[in-house]
Structure formats: C-alpha cells, structure tokens
Symmetry: C2
Subunit: 242 residues, 2 copies
Amino acid sequence: MAPIDVLLNKLAQHSPLEFDDIKRIRHLSCSTQVLSSGQDFVRQGDFPRASAIVVEGLVARYHTLESGGRQYLSYHLPGDWPDAQALFLERMDHSVCAVGRAVVCAVPHNELIELFCERPTIAFAVWRQTLIDASIFREAITNNSSRDALTRLAHLFCELYFRAKQAGLVKANIYNLPLTQAQIGETLGMSLVSVNRNLQRLRKHAPADFKAGKLIVRDWEKLAALGEFDPQYLHQQLRAKK
Amino acid sequence: MAPIDVLLNKLAQHSPLEFDDIKRIRHLSCSTQVLSSGQDFVRQGDFPRASAIVVEGLVARYHTLESGGRQYLSYHLPGDWPDAQALFLERMDHSVCAVGRAVVCAVPHNELIELFCERPTIAFAVWRQTLIDASIFREAITNNSSRDALTRLAHLFCELYFRAKQAGLVKANIYNLPLTQAQIGETLGMSLVSVNRNLQRLRKHAPADFKAGKLIVRDWEKLAALGEFDPQYLHQQLRAKK
DNA sequence: CGGACCATTGACCATAGTCAACCGCCGTGG
DNA sequence: CCACGGCGGTTGACTATGGTCAATGGTCCG
C-alpha cells in the first residue's frame, strides 16, 4: 500500500469520493519521512510549504508555554493530517512532533491547492477533515475545563482507543500508545503525580489499564460511562450523499 | 450596508478576494434573524440546512454537559460564522446561542456549496476562517488547561477585546460585552465565585475592569502581559498572495 | 556499573470549589 | 405606590481536589 492510500481510507470514511478523485489523489507527490520519538516535524513560527499525512505511528500537536512547558493539543493516527491548516494559515501557531517512532509523508501545498481547484469534492473532503479536527478541539476544551481528573483521563483514553480501533490499531483490547504519564498530564492539564494516581484508580475500578505504553481496555462500557464519552463529536458516520 | 457585507469585510481581512468574488457573495440569499438574549440559533443534534453569519451582537457556541451545565466554547463577533462547520458536518455537536441581543443572517448551504465549486477562492477564504476558529479553540485548550485563574481571565479579556477592536466595537477603551460572571465561569472552567474574586484582582491591579456588561481596558500592555496574550494565533495579518 | 528516564509513593500545601447568606437593582403585579 | 421575586453580583467560612516537593525503585542502555 502506498503511503498516500492511508489518507484515502481516512477520507473515504466520511466523504464520498469518486474514482477520478482517487486517481488524482494517488498522483500527488509525496516524500516519506521517518521521525524518531519526540522529533518535531514543524515548529511554532514556521512557514511550511508542505503538509504531512501520518502514515504510521502517532503524532501530536502542542503549544509551547511561556514557562517552557508544553500543552499537547491533539493526537493524530495514520491517515490524519495534523497540519492541514498550514495550507491556508501561513505561520504555524503550534508545533507538531512524533510520539514514539512515526512515519509521515509530506505533500507540497501548491499541488494540493491546484487539485482542490480542479476537484472541489476533494477539497470538501479535506475541509471536512479539518472540521472534525476542530470538533475534537472543542471536546478537549470541555474535557479539560469541566471534568474532574478521573473522568478527564477516562475520556482521553476513550477517544484514543475509539479512534485507534477505527484505524485498525487495536488487537485483543490492547492499543500501543507510546505516551508517558508526563505527556498525559501535559495533555489534560494535570500534574504527573495526579495522572499516576488516577491511572491507579482506573486500574482498580477495572475498566482500563495503561502501563508501559500499552492501553488495555477491559470494560469499554464502563470506561465510556466513566469518561462521559459520546463519540458523536468524531463525526464518523458516513455522510449521506445529497 | 447589507448584512452580508459584514462577512465580506471579515474575509477580506485575511484573504485576497477579487471583484467577481465579491459580486458573487453579495448575491447570496440571506434571511436576517433577530435573536433575543440567550436564545439558541441551532442546537446540539440538529441537522441545519443553512449557516448563520453574525451581523450584530455576540453569539456563543457551547456544549451541554451531562450534569446539565454548559461549557462555552467560543464567542463570535459580527462577520464571524459560528456554524460554518455545518456545511460539511451534518449533525451539530454543539449549540449556538445569542449572548445579549444579536442579529444573524442565514445563508442556505446549497447555494454556498455551489458557489465554492465555481469559485475556489471563496471556498478557501471561508475555509481559512474555519481554520482560524480551530486555532482559537487550541488556544482555549491551553488557556483553560495550563494557566491559573487570574491569567486565564486576563487572556479571555485580551482575546475578546482584541477581536472587538478589530471589528470596530471598542470606543474609548470600552467594549460592551454582555456576559455574566457565571458565563465567564462556564467559559474558563472556573466557579462563579472564583471569577468574581479574580475580577476584583484585575480591578485592583488596574489593567482591566469588567462590570455591568462593560469591559474597560485601562492598561493594555499590562493586561496582555498578565494574560500571556500573543495575538499570533488569531492569524490576522493579511496573507501575502503567492 | 552509572546514569537517564519513567513510574510510584508519602507528606504537605495552596488554589479554587462549595455552601450560604446578603445586597442592590429592576421589572412586575397587587 | 410599594411589595415582591428574580437575577446578578459580593462576601465569608470551610473544604477538597489536585499541585508541589522530595525521595525511592525499576528498567534500559551505554
């Protein structure tokens, strides 16, 4: 499977593409890039001329704080397009890095813009993707602002597990998630210590276990209830053709 | 000035539009709607067939929590397009309501989609707008997750004041902002009592005063420093033509 | 073996939440 | 006209959640 096919699968999950669209997308140029754990792909302040599609592994976006710390904003699985926004916003307002080893493929902006002009359906599919991204951000606002530590943690796991499952990355209820507890803290706005303690609570109450980069979900229903997780915001139902 | 011109001004702030684009946008149908304070325009779960552009007043997006409470997600000034996302995501994952009296104009989706196909430049301008929205969401994640109560409050005021100024709504350092303290709390993920106490701190330290629906900024520099506010994420520089 | 990194634990502390009462203002209706 | 109720804002007292600090253990790797 060519790297770009990962994107195709993703777009096809929510947008109706025609054969010609698919053909055109396959003809985009695409330079594959392997990122080592923690490596930045783009940095806050950059003016990228290409956008990366995740092919393998996990990629994250983050803000750098005045204090030097980080606020992780979102995570991206294969098929996602973490910096699609750079197509229309010149300067990056955040950075994108690999979490664990990751493979991305970079597609030049000018080719994409040209393609979008020719085939609006493709533009709409990618646009939709960026809107789903925004929806995930909104949920993160709600999660980090109005839920307590345990619920917050459960919700994050729900989202990642759910998305990983859709991407075919879950096997026997296990998802390889190479996050550290510190990173989870920087995602949810809680301290490392608090993350650790709430992980233990999750373990004790049985629904989920996160250890050594593996997320094990023992009782999905219970975890989803605990995390107040409702996947609607991921907009994964295939939209009916109008 | 026709209602739709408010949108034109906004788009022109960040995107280069040609004369024909402008002409076409002016010909969109647009049904004006007056909303009373607190009234919903769309609700979580709806399948809207038209999108609203804010013409006057303030409009907010919010999630409804399991507990029945609210999490406000973003605020929208004249020219903004709070539910542009509904163009490509069928089901609303949040609601949109008026904060104070507001006027919006609703444009039917099918006309827009048609226009986007014909004139990609317009599509790109609106797309850019939705991406700026997403950037504002990201900043909200960071604000609500990694800053303390006072900083958080200051940052919110900075953003609203900055955007209001750009929209020409600030006169003599005063911006009419019809929020209640409870709503501010539901925006920043803090309790009403804490909002109240931190408002007093802001007042005492002089940079800003919020009272009776009026935001007075006495010392912008100080407020921006206190709120760790850097307007880059609003992407307001006119993008150079490529 | 030493060091780096991650996870874990305990003790203490501070920020912000909760609860409750009270004030002032305004619009409504007796 | 005034009484009342509701809403938004303010204050004090208490509490609890989660943060900070610091020490320790385990594992991997050079």
